[in-house]
Amino acid sequence: MSLTDPVVHDIVLVGGGGAGIRAAIAAVEADPKLTVAMVSKVYPMRSHTVSAEGGAAGVVKTENDSFDLHAFDTIKGSDFISDQDAVEAFVKEAPRELLQLEHWGCPWSRDPDGRVATRTFGGMSTPRTLFAADKTGFHMLHALFQTSLKYDRIVRYDEQFVTSLIVHDGAVRGVTAIDLHSGKLLPIYGRAVIICTGGAGKVFPFTTNASIKTGDGMAMAYRAGVPLKDMEFVQYHPTGLPGTGILITEASRAEGGYLFNKEGDRFLSNYVPTKMELGPRDLLSRAIIEEMEAGRAFEGKHGQYVHLDLTHLGEKKINERLPFVRELATKYVGIDPVKQPIPIRPVVHYCMGGIDTDINGATPLRGLYAAGEVACVSINGANRLGSNSLTECLVFGAWAGKHAAQYVRQGGSDSSPAPESIARDEWARIERTYLQDHKNGERIATIRHEMQDAMEKGCGVYRNGETIQAARDKLLTLRERYGRISIDDRNRVFNTDLTAAIELDFMLDIALAMAEGALRRTESRGAHQRRDHKGRNDQQFLTHTIAHRTEDGPRLEYRPATITRWQPEERKY
């Protein structure tokens, strides 16, 4: 009754953002017969790639730049736990992907001679970041989405909320999805599944991330037995608007913006003297927090902040290069950056960690691939450099699509079809957990807010053993309380109360993996800074954290990071 007839495709793709659409196009181009189901809980052009602003990095211009330089910047930025073989492969493919996007119509900003323009991003040693004014993600996503429309073999399942992976005989066979329009459960079978659902910034209260970024894909894979990697590394972007957490792009510093404290000092000279405003994000966010703790920040109704000053850039440059920054600051904090400095503070932005994949996007589960923020290859290690993530979506999205297509061509996961009972059981679970009469249970918003609060306290810019432990304990209680929730909405059609409850379930798993990873990494590296364990410990922790899900919480293992040509050194800028 509440199950729809199943549909069958060659590849089932979950998520329709930058990585997902790139993967879909790569897959259908790799094999002229194959069909891809692109399943997304929102219309693809709503995906969070749309909010990326500053740019996408790649050595498109070889004057004063090289693959080695891009690789080294990325590795140093990662605080030396990115896998160097993956980084090298990534930087070599990057320019090709950026040009591919140009050929698909992306309106990259241009130099007067008609070539694509570049700007210098934080932690990058030369201008190698392509951009489309300050709406790069928006333009990339729409160019990708509109291009995808010409492929009839990419079949969209818009507004279908995926609840679980269908796994049988040690291989993934598809997904179960709630069709929001009918409220029924739709089994979508395939011979390979690619997950491109993005990060999980919404486990924190103050984030640049959209409401849809609830770590669904990570949690689904985690539950299907796939480990999560490096989850303790969560990037704080140094410049978000107080109150809303709206992102003010790094491009505003790339174009020449300054950071000032209350005393009018460009305080970064005390922290990253050679790079100043173009230092990497982890160091800048820490510098701002230090200024706040030293009482050198401004005090406002949404807490402390410092100033990002663009006034010296002039109206023309701001309009040309940073129009969106101007629009956002004017609209949301009532400040015109042409005339006044913008109040900013660090804000949760990006998950370096994610589903454990290799360079091809393959996970340890047969037939399952992942790419984009949801995956951890890892090229980002302990701290991602700004403008590497959009390129990561393209490069690894394309590879995941291509390799999934290859896997399908070689037979895929179809030795024996998955029993129908899997989807039936999933519907029964959803009905039992959420739609039957649970009276006077807790509201999901209460649990969500307490989870976010715990994560901010325990896994912020600076952490220490006690606070992480407290967050972890809190999360375990919340996990237990989650069993007694009740939702208001028991209807079928477009039940966003139900999907929010399932998202919260996903987020609790993710948050716990983050806290556990943070607790056990007794060192400070990149975005993970412990006040009780200062400094890097290369002897013990030149490793990736691998988290397996168990009923009693995450079980952690460690795997050495791949180091090829660049030995770890002190990270100074």
Binding site: R46, S51, S109, R110, P112, K331, A445
Partner: protein
């Protein structure tokens, strides 16, 4: 949040129990920073989890949260409560079928978007190894404005022509077709204009101009449509004078 309170009258429609939409009034606290979307989130979290609407980025770029606020199509994440005297009415975007409460069915647009072929069809194919297609800042400027459409559907909700004739391609779809027509790298205007220049295309438009008034990204779809009309007429004249090879 301060103690100031505001009344929101919201359209409710549950296809499982209702035969027609009704309204429900909620009261929410607000301050100078509160947008209509925040108010809806407050209701959903604290008062009534059944209230249904779309949202995502909360920074005016994903295009999910369009609704009619006091009768005017708006992005609710960029519409502040402080700007309204008295109570506020929140309705689903006009001119679309209502799926539930404030959620409209926009599959019609998704079909139409595809029909205008909104992808680059290059004048002359170039391989990636040969590098990028060159495009000067000025050539970019010629279509940039029309590439800013976030598909939020506000223009369709403001367009009386679309309200009366659902077969009209509509402002956003035509603006996006125009965006590629004006792109110096593209060479498929003639192909695209089979649909844009048809009876369901630009000639349905009577130039009310409200689409451009409500557009939150200043895309100016009305201008795009009128320019396509002009280009179509010139094309017709050209093909009349020069029957062959008149594709500009």
């Amino acid at each position: 949040m301060s103690d100031k309170m505001k009344k929101l009258t919201v359209t409710r429609y549950n296809p499982e129990t209702d035969s027609a939409p009704r309204t429900q009034t909620y009261e929410v606290p607000y301050d100078d920073d509160t947008v209509v979307l925040d108010a809806l989130n407050h209701i959903k979290d604290q008062q009534d989890g059944t209230l249904t609407y779309r949202w995502s980025c909360r920074m005016g770029v994903c295009g999910s949260c369009g609704m009619n606020v006091n009768g005017v199509p708006k992005l609710t994440c960029a519409t502040f409560l402080r700007d309204f005297e008295g109570d506020i009415t929140v309705e689903p975007l006009a001119n679309f079928p209502i799926m539930r409460d404030l959620v409209v069915n926009m599959s019609d647009f998704m079909e139409k978007l595809k029909r205008v072929k909104p992808w680059l069809i290059p004048k002359e194919e170039k391989s990636i190894d040969e590098g990028e297609y060159l495009q000067t800042p000025r050539q970019l400027e010629a279509y940039r404005q029309f590439s800013m459409c976030i598909n939020c559907m506000l223009c369709y909700a403001a367009c009386p022509v679309y309200g009366k004739h659902q077969d009209f391609l509509g402002p956003a779809a035509i603006a996006l077709g125009h965006r590629y027509n004006e792109d110096s790298r593209d060479g498929a205007r003639a192909e695209r204009n089979k649909i844009i220049g048809s009876g369901e295309g630009v000639w349905e438009c009577t130039f009310v101009g409200e689409c451009s008034e409500v557009c939150p990204k200043h895309v100016d779809p009305a201008a795009a449509i009128q320019r396509e009309k002009l280009a179509n007429v010139l094309d017709k004249i050209k093909s009349f004078i020069l029957p062959r090879g008149s594709s500009r």
